[in-house]
């Protein structure tokens, strides 16, 4: 039984950080300039990458399907604008590894003509939930909060699970990021429509929109919009603005007091949580017929001239977007995708905006100073005080540092949400989150290695078995043959001769029969028969003289 608390709880741990959001909220959300060249990665979500359906030279319309999903946990990809496909290949994508991934490159024709996507559903609030899910999947919608999990999967809790509560996550807790707040103010109706569609699809009796208490305008806009459409069972609950109150598990705890089980899902508690951006995208897809081809992105930081929020097409090169915001200032030092606590540091701006790009932080040296040298851990316990997952970060650090991967899992490494609170307060400036990430990927890699070496061992053992079997079979045949060879005695030789003679007779008879048949000499007249026997006699005489 899940219920929304009257007073939201304080999350365990957490940090109070300067929000730095006002500079990007001065102007309302505007459309970004349509770029000339768009690079659309085929994997912008958790799960199996999409498979390209187009090849160089194809002409596409805005919203046309260019990559189809290949698995349940996967999402399709659509063309963000009309134009021509120039390449399908490996290009740099925003990823901490700096590696390339498969992308579709489109040169825009500037006309932005839309395709007929067939995503619209009339009377969507009375439609079959299965149809809604299918269209959400077909629209390529993934979690826009940053994780990119295919939303259609999250709208399907399963046949034996009842969804009691739908939580809408508008609690944008990371400093600098303001795209969700801007969206809630500018596109309030879309957000509300999307929420109502999701509520209907899940059959949830209760809906709560979690926002931070430092977003008064967004709360106001949402309240008015909800009142206008008479949705009285959707509540807005402001939670104290503490980082990371916007994390899914943390928000659910703050609003309901329930803890999502470790390695479990909110659906285990009868709760489903979606981001406000995802709600707006669902509304655009099912009511306006537009798949996920654009999103609101915050461009901010002291390194960009005009911090603001923009509606950006997926695949827009970041360099173009910065130009659109007045270009870099001379203070620019770093470029981050995401916020300053969990974001990815980008090596170049020649990368595309993807579905999970919520913020581009062009930071100055003052925003992001060079990291200080790390000292030894003094076990002060500051990290334990701020961990929202109530872990022991210093123990995780000691064991990850020593590469003791069993111990580090004993201390529940995989419950870490990598929020960065621990590293933020460490007086020795140890990059704690780096150690945890290293340990996690190392453990996954070891697991993969173990599985592949198990398969190799099985194949090897099977091969050894096969060789054994073949050897045995060969030996048996040899033994049999040897036995057969050992048997023959004197009397048998005559028997053998008789057998051979009989066999030769049989062969002769057969041959004569065959010859007769082959010559097609059935049903001949007496005259013809006489001629043939003459020729045969002559041939036989010749043969005897020449000798056979």
């Amino acid at each position: 039984m899940v219920s929304i608390l009257e007073q939201p709880l304080a999350i365990p741990g957490g940090l109070r950080l300067a929000s730095n959001k006002s500079q990007s909220l001065r102007t309302p959300v505007r459309q970004a300039r349509l770029p000339e060249r768009l690079i659309v990665p085929l994997s912008q979500h958790i799960g199996v990458p999409a498979e390209a359906l187009v090849k160089p030279g194809d002409k596409v319309l805005k919203g046309q399907l260019i990559g189809r999903s290949t698995d349940y946990i996967s999402a399709p990809v659509h063309a963000p604008t009309s134009g021509t496909i120039t390449d399908v290949g490996d290009y740099p994508v925003p990823h901490p590894s700096g590696l390339n991934a498969s992308c579709v490159v489109i040169i825009a024709d500037g006309e932005d003509r839309a395709a007929d996507t067939g995503l619209k559903i009339d009377q969507v609030l009375e439609a079959d939930p299965a149809d809604i899910r299918q269209q959400v999947r077909a629209a390529g919608i993934v979690g826009l909060g940053g994780a990119g999990f295919p939303s259609a999967v999250k709208l399907n809790p399963g046949p034996d699970r009842q969804v009691e509560l739908l939580v809408i996550n508008g609690a944008e807790c990371e400093p600098f990021i303001s795209c969700d707040e801007a969206l809630m103010c500018c596109c309030t109706q879309e957000v509300v429509n999307g929420i109502r569609i999701m509520q209907h699809s899940l059959g949830a009796q209760q809906v709560v929109i979690g926002v931070e208490d430092n977003m008064p305008r967004a709360i106001d806009c949402l309240g008015k919009s909800l009142e206008a459409c008479g949705a009285n069972n959707i509540r807005i609950v402001p939670v104290p603005s503490l980082y990371p109150a916007g994390g899914e598990k943390q928000l659910i705890y703050a609003l309901t007091g329930k803890e999502v089980p470790s390695q479990g899902l909110p659906a285990d508690l009868g709760i489903v949580c979606h981001n406000v951006g995802t709600a707006a995208a669902i509304s655009r897809a099912l009511i306006d017929g537009e798949p996920l081809i654009s999103r609101v992105v915050t461009v901010t930081g002291a390194g960009v001239a005009e911090p603001c929020n923009l509606e950006v097409r997926i695949g827009t090169p970041i360099a173009d977007l910065i130009e659109d915001c007045g270009g870099y200032t001379q203070d620019i030092a770093h470029l981050l995708m995401g916020g300053p606590m969990m974001g990815i540091s980008l090596a170049s701006d020649n990368l595309p905006v993807i579905k999970t790009t919520n913020c581009l932080l062009a930071a100055s040296q003052a925003d992001i100073p060079p990291p200080k040298a790390a000292s030894a851990c003094i076990r002060c316990g500051e990290c334990v005080e701020v961990c929202p997952a109530q872990l022991l970060p210093q123990q995780l650090y000691w064991h990850a540092h020593a590469r003791d991967f069993d111990k580090v899992q004993d201390y529940n490494l995989f419950d870490c949400i990598e929020c960065g609170c621990c590293a933020q307060v460490c007086p020795s400036h140890i990059p704690l989150v780096q150690y945890y990430r290293f340990a996690k990927t190392e453990i996954w890699d070891q697991e993969r290695e173990r599985q592949s070496s198990d398969i190799a061992r099985q194949r090897h053992e099977f091969r050894l078995d096969r060789l054994e079997r073949e050897k045995k079979a060969l030996e048996e045949r040899r033994a049999k043959a040897k036995k057969a060879l050992n048997k023959p005695k004197a009397g048998d030789v005559d028997d053998k001769k008789a057998e051979i003679a009989a066999a030769l007779e049989r062969v002769k008879a057969k041959k004569a029969q065959q010859d007769a048949n082959a010559k097609n000499i059935d049903g001949l007249s007496a005259e013809q028969q006489a001629k043939i026997s003459e020729i045969d006699k002559r041939r036989a005489a010749q043969n005897t003289t020449t000798g056979e």
Binding site: A333, A373, S375, R379, E418, P427
Partner: protein, 344 residues
């Protein structure tokens, strides 16, 4: 455009090791000042010798180990160890007492285990215990606090005594050394005097040893300031003072004539210094919140036991070392429940 990359989180970190250590050193000032006022120049020489030796030995060891010297010295942890040891030593001890203790503390108890963050035992207390076991005479002769038998020794006389062992003209060593209030209590109780009789001794003040009560009060003030500034967490001091209070209360209620009152114990000897500055050394203490409470309580209780029935007048140093040994076990068994896990 190309950029340098980094790893999250990226925001500037305000906390710093050197700032933390300096805060602790600042918190020591009221208590140290009080100690100086009551015990004279010997306190200053102890502090100077101990601190200088600590810094010098740390520098030498780091160079021997091939580690960068300046960053390690810059976090002031050696300075803090020297100060804590210096404050714990008798003011008129010969110069080689703080020297040996400090060198042992840094070289063996800290650097040989791997330096900052790797020592399982509190270095200052290791140094203190080595001294008290090896040189019991020098370590248990304290001068009388000012106001008990006249004034403390003059500056030049102090220096002369400490560095050359020569007593000031016309006096004997006996006339300006005496046992501490805890030591007096121990011997007198051993001779079957009751507390009410013992307390009449001029070495006792209003509620604890003369002078010592003010010194402990000053450490308490410094410690509370330290806690409010976020340099230490409340669990260890609360645990230690609470533990000592409870056990001394129990015995005091049982027989108030044979046992010191809780207030006496809380404001005697190294209690407050230990509670706020020594036991709170994060490297050698327990780290989980609940573990810290048990750790502090263990120190308080063991210190009381040693004071009352053990062979030494003040048991804080031994208590700290014994609980240092127990800290890993405490950590293991007091792990907090992780978010999303069932209560075990």
């Amino acid at each position: 455009m190309e950029f340098k990359t980094g790893t999250s989180p990226y925001l500037p970190v305000s906390n710093d090791l050197s700032r933390l250590m300096l805060k602790v050193i600042l918190g020591l000032v009221p208590g140290a000042l009080c100690l100086f006022l009551f015990f004279g120049w010997g306190v200053i020489t102890n502090l100077l010798i101990a601190t200088a030796t600590a810094v010098a030995s740390e520098a030498a060891m780091l160079r021997l180990r091939g580690k960068p010297v300046a960053p390690a010295l810059g976090d002031y942890s050696a300075v803090l160890t020297g100060l804590l040891l210096g404050l714990a030593l008798p003011p008129l001890a010969p110069w080689w007492i703080p020297f040996i203790g400090s060198a042992f503390a840094i070289v063996i108890a800290k650097q040989l285990y791997g330096g900052l963050g790797y020592n399982p035992f509190n270095p200052a207390m290791v140094g203190f215990v080595v001294l008290i076991i090896s040189f019991p005479l020098q370590m248990t002769l304290w001068s009388p606090p000012s106001g008990v038998e006249g004034e403390t020794l003059a500056f030049t006389d102090t220096l002369q005594l400490i560095f050359t062992g020569v007593v000031p003209a016309g006096s004997l060593l006996d006339s300006f050394t005496m046992a501490t209030p805890l030591d007096t209590a121990k011997t007198q109780l051993g001779l079957n005097y009751t507390w009410s009789e013992i307390v009449n001794n001029p070495v006792y003040g209003n509620f604890a040893g003369h002078g010592w009560e003010w010194i402990n009060l000053a450490y308490l003030v410094g410690g509370i300031w330290l806690w409010r500034r976020g340099a230490i967490h409340w669990q260890i001091p609360a645990g230690m003072l609470g533990g000592m209070f409870v056990i001394s209360l129990l015995f005091y209620i049982a027989d108030s004539d044979s046992f010191g009152s809780p207030i006496f114990h809380l404001f005697s000897g190294a209690t407050m210094l230990g509670a706020f500055f020594i036991a709170t050394d994060p490297v050698s203490a327990a780290t989980t919140p609940r573990g810290r409470i048990y750790y502090g309580a263990g120190i308080g209780i063991i210190a009381y036991i040693i004071r009352t029935w053990g062979g030494y007048p003040d048991g804080v140093a031994f208590a700290v070392l014994l609980m240092n040994m127990a800290a890993p076990t405490l950590d293991y068994y007091t792990q907090p429940r992780v978010f999303g896990h069932e209560k075990e």
